[in-house]
Symmetry: C2
Subunit: 414 residues, 2 copies
């Protein structure tokens, strides 16, 4: 579909869909226009002509004049049907539905190959930050060593408001929802499922591996309280819900955990609904990307950019998948964590490889210790509402030298 005008069929007509319609009417840059919009409720008042609308998905999916299907519904099950059917019909698809993409990533990849039609989903990962495109296009060699960042705007907003304004968790959450930063089901955000979906997508484009969301450890912010926040402040740190992934030789690890971040760290100053991503590669040292990670217009921007890319025949090449044939995902990763607890009975010290610090007082107890990620999955104590876990750092595993890094250090020392 090189350089020709493209016709779009849209599912869902919320804020993003409505913004898209106006923008496409008023710009010349993107050679695409909306042909048909499939909605659930035909009798709502709409700001544009009724002739656009249909309640029958087939009016889009089986319409030969429609080149691109843009999936903007908030129903994951319906979205799966729409996206897979559209790909099978040979239509290009744009979606920002991270849950859908993460849960069906391998199948969606296969469908693209089989039907030779692209699926783009930049909006599914950190909204306005073009991270997928950059991982695909710019870091497409095997020098990438880690990606970490704030991948969820809603929880970042809550943490900022708790720390800066002294608001309670509940108050901050309700504000985030009012402002449209939180997902319909807040568990996805505060339980750190949303950033985990984004991590699944990132792992494919950064390191070329397929993972299932259930293979990735996620620990949200619901158990954090003002004691944890004030402990962080005493240490000159701030707590951020971070996604961590790194590569050591062929081994890839990934997790989502509240993390203490130094005040000087680029991620420390990413506040409210902003997301930030730090990409480390041997040659570049680090790159940092900052942008709005929640809200309808940042997501709309990514959707628009994907539509624009389709007018130039863009598709993900999944280069890393073909390059990194030995890469594998592992949960064998040593972590240094802070654990706040109410009584020593709350916790089983045998789960730790070692205890580095222990503090007990009438009001407040914590320990700092080393624990393996695969061990952290198991104990029931981590779900105890009187416990909170915050990551100090991802440790370098013993006996695991990164051959690649050594080679590069030599290369750069010439």
């Amino acid at each position: 579909m090189s350089n020709k005008h493209l016709n779009l069929g849209i599912f869902g007509f919320g804020c993003v869909g409505q913004g898209l319609h106006k923008v496409l009417q008023n710009t010349k840059g993107i050679r695409a226009s909306i042909q048909k919009i499939c909605i659930k409720h035909p009798h709502k008042d709409r700001p544009i002509s009724q002739s656009y609308f249909t309640t029958n998905p087939e009016d889009i999916l089986l319409n030969k004049d429609i080149d691109i299907v843009v999936e903007l519904t908030d129903d994951a099950e319906a979205a799966y049907q729409i996206v897979t059917t559209a790909l099978r019909q040979g239509k290009a698809v744009v979606t920002a539905n991270k849950k859908l993409v993460a849960e069906h990533l391998e199948e969606l990849y296969e469908l693209q190959q089989t039907y030779n039609t692209p699926l783009l989903y930049e909006g599914a990962c950190c909204a306005s930050i073009p991270i997928i495109r950059n991982l695909e296009e710019y870091y497409d060699n095997d020098l990438l060593s880690s990606v970490e960042g704030i991948f969820n705007g809603s929880t970042n907003y809550i943490l900022s408001q708790m720390r800066q304004e002294g608001k309670s968790f509940v108050q901050a959450l309700s504000e985030a929802q009012e402002k449209g930063f939180a997902e319909t089901d807040p568990t996805l955000d505060i339980g750190a499922y949303d950033p985990k979906y984004k991590l699944c997508i990132t792992l494919l484009h950064a390191f070329g591996i397929f993972t299932k969301p259930e293979e990735i450890f996620n620990y949200g912010i619901t158990q954090l309280n003002e004691q944890d926040i004030s402990y962080a402040q005493q240490q000159g740190k701030t707590i951020k819900l971070l996604v961590h992934t790194k590569k050591e030789a062929a081994k890839i690890t990934g997790l989502v955990l509240p993390t203490f971040v130094d005040a000087q760290h680029p991620l420390a100053n990413v506040e409210n609904e902003f997301n930030g991503i730090l990409v480390e590669s041997a040659f570049t040292d680090h790159q940092f990307f900052l942008g709005k990670g929640a809200g309808s217009t940042p997501t709309g921007s990514a959707v628009l950019s994907d539509i624009s890319a389709l007018t130039y025949n863009y598709s993900y090449e999944y280069k890393k998948l073909h390059q990194n044939t030995e890469a594998y995902y592992s949960q064998d990763q040593l972590l240094e964590v802070y654990v706040r607890y109410q009584t020593p009975l709350d916790i089983d010290l045998n789960d730790f490889q070692c205890i580095l610090q222990r503090f007990e007082s009438a009001e407040y107890n914590y320990l700092v210790g080393e624990i393996n990620l695969k061990q952290l999955y198991k104990p029931a104590w981590r779900k105890n509402p009187n416990i909170s876990i915050v990551l100090n750092k991802v440790l370098v595993n013993a006996n695991q030298t990164t051959i690649q890094t050594q080679v590069l250090e030599e290369a750069l020392a010439v």
Copy 2:
């Protein structure tokens, strides 16, 4: 040259060239290897086999086995000959030479079209930050409204050291040179020519217009002194050498000037050799990119990424050039500036549209006023060593409403 192994011919074998050689030997991700290296001095000791080397450019330029020419010399005139000859021979070219690219941009564009072969130059603009690729690929629709940033690592290092460590300009400059952050000729950095070259390149990929370096106003940091720095601190600001470019309807303006930046602004915390770029577009609000902007490895990273992109047949499409046929470059831009002077006779107040503040004392005089950019080009006083000019802000020109922005604001208000 899809997916096949590519042979490189390299001009220059300094630190970047040597790093490239080692990395290419040790990675599998990039299907390319070095075939021949053209150097000036055949008798230097080299860390690799003599069989790689030649002093005859034709051994690369006329060698049918070589697919990609990588230009890594520090001689702009030789670089021009190498790059243009290689393109005429139908070879793909990678360069990081910003002066070469900026001064010959239109010709280099034409050569790519005529000989249907790509020239990539990500390393020529902010080293490791993938800004050209992002402007080409991600912001390829007409919603982009401004790009501003720190485009020169050497001057940013100097300004950081002056402010944070109280070092003198001369001391900080000499350190920057020792660390390899400054260009061979420091005038290019401290006179703000280097960021101006990068701005020329940015203007093409952001807004689709060709400009000549001499059309763009640049004012460096040589005349800044500790009084300016302490004035900035009193105002809660920091001085950064910034590139500014923005689009108002079809009119594009661009300039390079030391600028007062609020402490909360993302660019305020970009220190030392780092570069930072803030991209504003209607939908995304703002995106911020941070990365090392000087030094051989960040540049090497961009060169490597360009080589990798060529193995996938990547070329710049210069989409904006074709989209924005009405866009034009203008120097008609109202600025609010701070001007420090020694005596009132140093300066001609008639050049200003209005004077907003004026401070005079035994030690130190300054004014804050509005001046048109096209007026700022003219007076000799700006080159007076007793004068320094720092931008307060780029003003919105009267009677110039950005129709596009209005449309988008409406679109997003739905």
